[in-house]
Symmetry: C2
Subunit: 348 residues, 2 copies
């Protein structure tokens, strides 16, 4: 873990530089997400993963699925400040988007999960999210559903109904949740009419002001480091401004909450800016309601810069160009439990 932090801090130092970047550094989103060698994406895994992702029956109450907080019909999250799980309980952080999460080298706001596979197991047993006591309890529900037995066999072979394979299937599905070919991508590929003049001004400012130092790469979430090394940054970097108190940005200690190393205080994963227009409210605590305010907050807290109204509007226009094309999806039938159901929790 030491190396993770060191690498992150070295890159963090680089983020302080507001060097202009050549256009060659802009990268369109690939049409396909990277896949780990031990979990190649197959149609059978994707089909199974989509069912599991949308199925609320593996939460304690039977009411919360992955999709409840990471809604693939919306911007891949819930448009709420804090996610709301079983019994109306609230998470301590805002749900990040699932769209393009395949381009991270670490998951969760604090990067504590090394992969999508590992991440998928977290919310199931989080007391305020899906509220199951044990992963195997959730898996036992899956095992009781004949249709899932068939789907696991197709994806992984017989006798393969394990927590790890369920996580692999969900991760494989999530790797299909990418949004290429937005206006920005078409522009980078040569269609100069894809961005308005205002959006192009915003793009230039995004580079010259230094936003791109951290929000780089095809997903605007920094480099993909070796697997398990989330690209982290300190937020807020500059604390001598009104935003920090107004939005209570110092309350959450970020990665420190996991590692208890002082140097990890207020380190957060650099989130993707893909589809950022669809994922208000903003920041790890969802405290900022609009994208206009969010770019002003970022400029001040990370670059110690006050944006003019025009600059803020230009950046917002550019960020709207990062909304991509969403793949059309079929709504799955979730395999049933004919003639019976589970004992779902009613009381908290």
């Amino acid at each position: 873990m030491r190396y993770v932090r060191t690498a992150a801090l070295a890159l963090l130092a680089a983020c302080g530089l507001a060097a202009p970047f050549a256009h060659a550094q802009w990268q369109a989103l690939p049409d396909k997400a990277p896949e780990p060698t031990d979990n190649p994406t197959t149609p059978e895994k994707v089909a199974l993963g989509r069912m599991l992702y949308l199925d609320p029956r593996f939460s304690s109450t039977g009411t919360v699925s992955c999709n409840s907080c990471h809604n693939v019909m919306l911007g891949g999250e819930d448009n709420r400040p804090f996610a709301m799980g079983v019994h109306g309980q609230m998470s301590g952080r805002s749900a990040p988007t699932v769209w393009n999460s395949a381009f991270y080298s670490g998951q969760f706001w604090d990067g504590r999960a090394a992969s999508l596979e590992e991440q998928a197991k977290g919310p199931v047993v989080n007391a305020v999210e899906m509220g199951m006591k044990e992963l195997d309890g959730a898996m036992n529900r899956v095992r009781h559903i004949e249709g899932y037995r068939v789907a696991f066999a197709k994806a992984f072979g017989p006798d393969a109904m394990t927590v790890d394979n369920a996580a692999k299937a969900v991760a494989a599905y999530e790797r299909t949740l990418i949004t290429p070919n937005g206006p920005f991508d078409r522009f980078v590929k040569g269609d100069k009419s894809a961005l308005s003049e205002q959006q192009q001004r915003g793009m230039d400012l995004f580079a010259s002001a230094g936003c791109i130092a951290c929000h780089s790469g095809p997903a605007f979430s920094g480099p993909m480091l070796p697997n398990g090394m989330a690209f982290l940054n300190k937020f807020p970097t500059f604390t001598d401004n009104d935003y920090v108190e107004k939005y209570d940005f110092l309350k959450d200690l970020g990665r420190f909450e996991v590692t208890k190393n002082d140097a990890d205080k207020h380190l957060f994963k650099v989130p993707t800016l893909r589809n950022i227009a669809l994922t208000a409210p903003y920041f790890h605590n969802g405290a900022v309601q609009t994208l206009d305010e969010a770019v002003r907050v970022m400029a001040k807290t990370q670059l110690n810069r006050d944006l003019s109204d025009t600059e803020a509007a230009d950046l917002v226009a550019f960020l709207n160009a990062l909304t991509g094309e969403f793949p059309e999806q079929t709504m799955p039938r979730l395999p049933p439990t004919p003639g019976t159901t589970f004992e779902f929790s009613s009381a908290q």
Copy 2:
């Protein structure tokens, strides 16, 4: 309302007769649901209605949609005893399935809504379901979403973003949620191999025992009466048995809760048996966990008959033949609120 009750009671009397029914009375589910003349189904309304149905942003917390409790990826409900709405609050009745609800002449367990259009407005402003204070508050959120403005214009023409039109769109979508061509339907249409011998025995028993007296018609929910007249029945009819106390069937006064007429005590809408295998737990209070137990309860409380194990198994086998074909659906993109979101409720 007097007429509704009288008509229902007259039919109720008929239900007491355990007369055998000729095979000619079996009806396959039509390929198309009936439509009211003032709301013909169009693809534009269906597309809009599907988005509204699946969109959680019109609940107070932004977490509960129609689909949360009437899940179209499952049996059209939530497989819970009582539905769970905003802040983990629970409804006092079990969520009925949305599948084939177009074949009812009245909606809700007590038939208090005359149409799907009227029903659609109920849960939005129910404090423990979607929790909005006023329908117009929900509609104001819809009005703030540009994509919905476009979709309403396509479906209803310009300046048509009203609560009534939203309800019409949802109802139009729900009329597409029908499940024809199940094994029973194929059998009735002439494919004698569509039902097993056990299922055919169950079918004969369903008629000879008298189940079909109330659970008649193409949806096994009784006749479609004039619009707004739900086909009601008394449940439980026979109270001198252990089931009534065990499952607390006398607690809920049914239609009486709406009308306060003594004669309406314990009157409930006769629910469809289509896809009944997918909608455990059973009854208005979701107190019965399995379909096997449900058929024994019904035989005893409605026909004062104790089923043998074989009879119960035959009936369950037959009821499994009422699971139909579910239309493949595309998962809609829900129109966004770029750069901002709504003020969702966090505290109860």
